[in-house]
């Protein structure tokens, strides 16, 4: 097997084996949803989270991510990571550490379920050239550079898979900021870091523009 193929295989293996371990302790699953937790979660989502993440998880400002239709395991993992301060890029530190801090596990499970059930955010049309370029990167990656296709983990339609997050319809501004944070390791995501670290700024923007349009 040639070197780049070996690299690609290794990355895929790590990805399938639990790339989400970078955001979630190995072996953890979203806690079970209780009626109490779900009720508390709905109240929290409606009265607090909606302020930034929008009604039903579709944000008004692209600075804040859409949560609608997000993978529940990923959502729960992020809230735990905010709570435990293991996710520490600027916005996480400034906004989400305080929000997630007081949440109990029941409410976290409830929030994950609530948002996973919401109707996905509508796609946003964008620059056709950037979208086309982003689609190519998303579908095929750069095998010669050892960059795995995003679809491998995030699904062929960017809808997410297992605990790998949904990217379809996600705000491009947010996606760019997260990819940059992962590249610079200000957001701890070792496997993602290995995959995206060599993407150029233009390629990052293209991928973000594409997923926002899905």
């Amino acid at each position: 097997m040639r070197n780049y193929q070996l690299t690609l295989f290794s990355i895929t293996l790590m990805c399938v084996a639990g790339a989400a371990a970078s955001q979630q302790p190995a072996g953890d699953k979203p806690p079970p949803v209780t009626a109490t937790g779900y009720s508390a979660a709905v109240s929290k989502a409606v009265n607090l989270c909606s302020t930034c993440h929008g009604p039903y998880g579709v944000s008004v400002s692209p600075e804040f991510p859409n949560l609608a239709a997000q993978r529940p395991g990923y959502l729960a993992a992020q809230l735990k990571n905010f709570q435990e301060h293991t996710r520490a890029e600027t916005a996480a530190h400034d906004f989400m550490w305080g929000i997630a801090g007081p949440l109990d596990n029941e409410t976290i499970a409830g929030l994950a379920k609530y948002y996973s059930e919401q109707k996905p955010a509508p796609p946003h049309p964008g620059n056709p050239a950037l979208i086309a370029k982003g689609r190519a990167i998303f579908d095929k990656g750069f095998p010669d550079r050892g960059i795995l296709a995003c679809a491998t983990c995030h699904g062929s339609d960017a809808q997410g898979n297992l605990d790998f997050p949904r990217l379809a319809g996600q705000n491009a501004t947010y996606v760019v900021r997260q990819l940059e944070a992962i590249q610079s390791a200000t957001r701890a995501a070792p496997v993602m870091h290995g995959i995206v670290q060599n993407l150029s700024p233009e390629e990052v923007v293209s991928v973000a523009e594409f997923v926002q349009s899905e």
Binding site: N47, W97, I99, R177
Partner: protein, 477 residues
Amino acid sequence: MFEPIAPRVVGIPALALAFALATGFADSADAVPAFARQTGQECAACHVSWPELTPYGRYFKLTGYTIGKSAITSEGFQYLPMAVMLQGSVTNTRNNNTVDPSTNETTTVNQRNNSALFSGGSLFLASRINDYFGGFIQWTYDNLATRADGTLGGHSSLDNTDLRGAYKYAPVGAGQPEWVFGMTLNNNPTMQDPWNSTPAWGYPFTTSPLAQTPAAATIIDGTLAQQVAGLGAYALWQKTLYIEFSNYRTANVLGNIFRAGQPYNTPGGVTTLNNFNPYWRVAYTKDWGVQSIMLGTYGMVANVYPDNLDTTTPTDRYQDVAIDAQYQYITDVHTVTAQTTYIREKQKYNASYPITQATGSGYGAGPTPSNPANTLDTFKLKGSYYYERKYGATGAIFHTTGSSDAGLWGTDANGNPNTPNSSGYILELDWLARQNLRVLLQYTGYTKFDGARSNYDGNGRNASDNNTLFFDVWVAF
């Protein structure tokens, strides 16, 4: 009263101390003010550049300051719901001497010109009480307060105070609250407002404590601050339409707690109102993308006893009607904000004019107008740009015009009734060295001052002589 804390001696060390206090604290939420401790969030969550509020910050205020955890829970003491704010500054008045041409006597305008000084500080008690009630209480020590004899001295008093209760209503299946209902008990009209276009939290957010400032201001623009108590109710519908009605009265209630530290027993020390002084506020607000706008109107009717120590006389009536607007563009990298307000005041001297006509003087220390009614209009416009919420530049203009009235404003150099007209601009540079530490350089220029561009005081002093350069270090923790 207090003697000023050796202002000249501790000036530079005070500035250095303020800087050291702020930079000495880690980036943890434990090191920032009370609401940050309550929410666990950094200043940037609620503030564009404090005190200006983001949409989330406005929601935090309108929901009664209740987001976050309580200071004391069943698990014990969680955090200290208090904060401290300190300021050190240097003020330069362009022309610090005024000469009386008849006596050639020179008077110093700014007693501490070009001196690095400890300006003062505030202690905040700010916290949620439970899911429905919260409050904001500020106590301020002014190290450079002007005494009755014109000298500077320390003075301590209650500052802006706002106690709230709020309830969010969302029908089953809603994605956000349809209504936010609330009540506010506060001691400064517009202090309760969540937009930064109204006087209490409007620009400039801080100014030199030593600068010469125009004499005229509408009654809603700070004249009643910490002298009144107001109780109001408000509603926010679908985060789009805001309506509020409040009533203000003189704060001689509950042991004068809402005006603690004010000279309410001194002739002319405060403004005394009767019991019914309505205030209203209507605002339309819209968020889209990273932008938000607000278009609104507000105002109040104030019935003022001309002599603040005599509530047996008739009252003068001040009727303020204002329009305002705000625009914000907020991203992590670039932030642009703008506010404007226009206040039109009708002054009806129903008490002061007749007594002045009859006796030649007013009630006690009250006004002595030459006209039965006057108008006073103020216009303010401000625009700010911040890069990465750290480096900012602001430009603002202000313009006050009003009726000429010799009894209130004297006469000009030609013996004509003077006006209260003043106008000018403000330029400011800001550096947020840390989220809780601001270093600013502000220049205020006057094109007209108390009625004239030149020789406004009859002694040859020009409006531009009061131009002020203000350097300030402002820390909160």
